[in-house]
Subunit: 345 residues, 4 copies
């Protein structure tokens, strides 16, 4: 019996069959390791198509690594990064930014997980004061950890601040595909075209086995990056199998098809349950996450049958994530169960 | 047309079909991420079978990571690690031991890549002197970067020194399977049973897509290791696909079958060429590597047709690695070519 | 002509003559370096008198170093420190806690620079979650960067939380003498007796040339501290001259005499100006700092003649620090000037 | 009774009276902290006189700190430093280069503690190979830990290699004054004029209380150095008292007078004992250190009366250091004692 599909996380999902097929396809003969093979070279062209001719992609294994490498590439030891309090960098990386990159985070408290140009500017202080870290990088999550998205105009405004202050704009795009799909825009229109200098581009949450990319859009940041990747424990010897995953993701718009399904399933779920008495949607459903409050008894009963996380114990808020492989039936069954539990409680 | 098989590295090889099948087999339904799934739990039992009931395996992506994590688990900031000059830790990890673990290496110069108990002991000095790092860990590579292997007695002698000095014995077993196969011993008989406390157990060079394990044999070293793995950028979200790889490797003796083939192919190659005039085998061929000197013109001509590395430019020494997927025909064709080139030069 | 005494900082002040005399007194003959001399051993007895028989003092050069060493002694790589947003650790150490100790800070926003037991408890979350740093240390500043002091009962309440959570209580006592003098208590009654495990004890701001001490009150934290001090660039070769400074400070109650003068001068200044129209005292004056708002024109005019810092540009708040060497005349002259400027504006 | 003068180390010595007087002289009135005072500005001019108009001096507390700061200023995370096996950086800094600067050392084994251009060049390998650290800095100790000195021509040859390879030349000049005095040259003629880019200039071993300087001769290395010094725990708040020490040292040739005495005393000692049967001078006596072998019984007996270190237990080699305050009588008394002990044994 298969484990059922749930709503815990998009990394609970499977590998997309096209991705697994791509891995099998390159599993022939010997090639040089560490990315010095034709498949890895080939996938660079796909990145250039999607992110612009200057984009250089460095494939890595994990998302935390992509973020930490972005910090290491941009910041000298006394330089700091500005991010939202909810940012993965701040709360879900077990102190890697500080312990491995040595970078202090300057934290903006936000309601919706989104920085604003004003908030960023207010954190740029004590420039030139040797007692204080010097702000060097702004990191925005697109979409955010709360499922919300920045409009292109909002990113651009932050990019303008960054440029004016000679700072680097990093985008944590672990779910960039979901944001681009939601906005109906190409990948470059939500990243490099808006002034993003360096991007953590996610794949694992969108149908890959396990691969992410650091996409460098400001060529100066590429200086020494090969060494940083190796030293940061992220240089895959059998690189062709990471390249194959991205080959599958970026060809034939697989990235968009996967993301659109995940987003559509979240919208379907929201529609099915938002009117239910006792349940309140707590964040705008803009991508593939639904946040809601409901009675604790209902939460407990639902967790017996479906996997998902409680986001905020104090207020009984849950997070329901949809994935590339979530189906209409999955959602409908879950929505029915929610309705029943709410009626019961 | 497929890229031909060569002799550059065992990480130039493919994924073993049983491994790919195992990945596909677990690619169903949703499971919790980060290793909290039944497949990952299941693979722990296999590790216990092979390495002893107390063994705890932490799956990671890369071999450099396994080594660096071992250092981080064992060493406090002022503690140092003893290793051979040729150790991967020392020469092939772009300073990760120093930059990420903050650990100074105390280097033993050796002819054959192997530490000895005496050499280790001679590097344990200035104990209690606050001006000097304090030796805490000894790292042996089994097999070594030169393809040589430690006898069980040799490892045991080093383990005795480590125990006497209250030090930790680490084994870099990126190719442990090749060593165990060569010695005709089970995995635990070449590691934990000899006093190894923490082991980097390789998979990628022996038929996996990309997975290694830190096998902790001294349970005290496991304290906090979950955090270290996450912080060190090595916690895979879709862990089941790493577990599946090790499931395939450790069940049905696949690890041994793969390693035995690689070793046998190296022996076959040595036998075919060692008598050739103009060629000299430079290291004992004990596992899957053949080191040889031959005329530079021959090397150049051979590299036009076959991939392999020059190990030491100064003396014209090459390294030929065999892999799990190297065939008799591959070896014979290569040996023929070597013979022809030697005759020509 | 001498530079006049101002109100910029207590580290703008001179060395107390008794301290300079103590340095001169030990400037005879040769002694072993690095603290292996009788004077350094002797000063340990004074520390034991003032901080309890178990106290072990490690002399260092600077206050940032004392704080960073405390973090390094207490925290493993994945462990975090809780402190107030205003803490020196957070805002005045150029990222040393993160870059050198690798420690993430968990920040409490406070009005008065003081943590509370409740606030500390609210920051202890996600214990056992490998994605999050694990709180290990609480750092309180006594007195705070705002000149306020904790009551013994308040420190004890935080210590109780720390003990219950198996955390370490650190006290940044760069100005501990001022706090103890203000409370009329011995040094141990405001530190170790309240449950403080490790203390940064300041000397430089209280009449020394340049010396601080890490006073370890929980003996377990002393394990390896000698190495940490050396590695953290804080092992003075001519240690006797640091020891002599503390000898002077801790004998004959010099620490209290100096601190009482500084505190009294701040009280005198507050009394002289608090009633003036246009000026508002913004923080309780409990030790040697006076914070006040006054018209910007008055600030500018005063800064032409007296040195002091603007604390908060946005609201026109200044900080006036008194020192061990501030005199009644200094205060009266300054208060007169303030009054004149306020009348003018 | 005063502790007698011995031969353990030049940091066992006292503060030169002119230095202590200089400290007392600036102990008047209030000045801005952290080096923003006229005395600290003034000492920059003295450094410019001695090291050239472009030289910028950053005062710090300790020699290990000066070295680590030099590494941090020059090396990015994947860059390495070449030094001799005997270098203080390698053996006497408790792993600070690795743990704090994250810099791997590439070690040259030497007989006399001196690198050569050839040896440096042989360690510059694998340039452009992402698996290997990239050599970035060469560090020479002048004089060496063995008391030997580089000729200007030798330093120049190493500087030429460094320049050709776009590397930085660092000089650990903890005892640079002794070398310059021995060579009869100005300080700049043994440092910047020979191509040194960054210099750790020692003061503590030559009569100061405790102060060293990082002298930056390549202005590009000064970028961000203020932050590095603060973050590296080396920004003195009462900086005037460090400045005063260097003021005394650099004015009126005190540095040379002190060093010349120390050197002369070593020469006197060598002359007095080198002919004694049973004693062999083991290194050329070029500065203020005398290395010798003598019978173990004689060593033990001498150590009962005089402080000095055994350098190499295995061969019974001792190190006798002379200091700025060593006198003819000290040497003669010691030489007499040596002679008596040798006669006895």
């Amino acid at each position: 019996m298969h484990p059922a599909r749930g709503f815990a996380s998009d990394n609970s999902a499977t590998i997309h069959p096209e991705v697994l097929a791509a891995i099998a396809r390159v599993n022939v003969g010997h090639v040089k390791g560490y990315g010095h093979d034709d498949w890895t070279r080939g996938v660079q062209e796909l990145f250039a198509e999607h992110f612009g001719a200057d984009a250089r992609a460095y494939l890595v294994w994990g998302g935390t690594a992509a973020n930490v490498l972005s910090l290491r590439a941009a910041c000298r030891p006394w330089e700091a990064a500005i991010c939202a309090q909810t940012a993965h960098l701040n709360v879900d990386e077990c102190g890697a930014p500080e312990a491995l990159a040595g970078v202090k985070l300057l934290i903006a408290h936000t309601e919706d997980g989104k920085l604003t140009a004003e908030r960023v500017e207010s954190l740029i202080e004590r420039v030139g004061d040797e007692h204080a870290v010097q702000p060097r990088l702004v990191s925005v999550s697109q979409c955010t950890e709360l499922g919300t998205i920045y409009t292109p105009r909002e990113v651009r405004a932050i990019a303008d601040v960054a440029r004016r202050q000679q700072m680097i704009l990093h985008m944590d795009g672990a779910r960039l595909s979901n944001a681009a799909a939601a906005l109906g825009l190409p990948l470059r229109s939500v990243s490099g075209d808006l002034g993003v200098d360096i991007l953590s581009f996610g794949g694992t949450k969108n149908g890959l086995l396990g691969a992410e990319a650091v996409v460098i859009l400001d060529p100066e940041l590429a200086d020494g990056f090969d060494y940083l990747r190796k030293q940061s424990l992220q240089l895959a010897s059998k690189m062709r199998f990471l390249a194959a995953q991205f080959q599958a993701l970026l060809a034939d718009e697989l990235w968009r098809r996967c993301a659109e399904n995940a987003n559509a399933m979240a919208a379907r779920l929201e529609k099915a349950v938002s009117h239910l008495p006792g349940l309140a949607i707590t964040r705008p459903v803009q991508t593939n996450a639904v946040f809601a409050t409901l009675p604790r008894a209902a939460i407990a009963a639902l967790q017996d049958r479906f996997s998902f996380y409680v986001w905020d114990e104090r207020i009984g808020e849950v997070r329901w994530m949809c994935s590339w492989d979530t189906t209409d039936e999955d959602v409908d069954e879950f929505a029915d169960a929610i309705e029943q539990e709410l009626r019961r409680s």
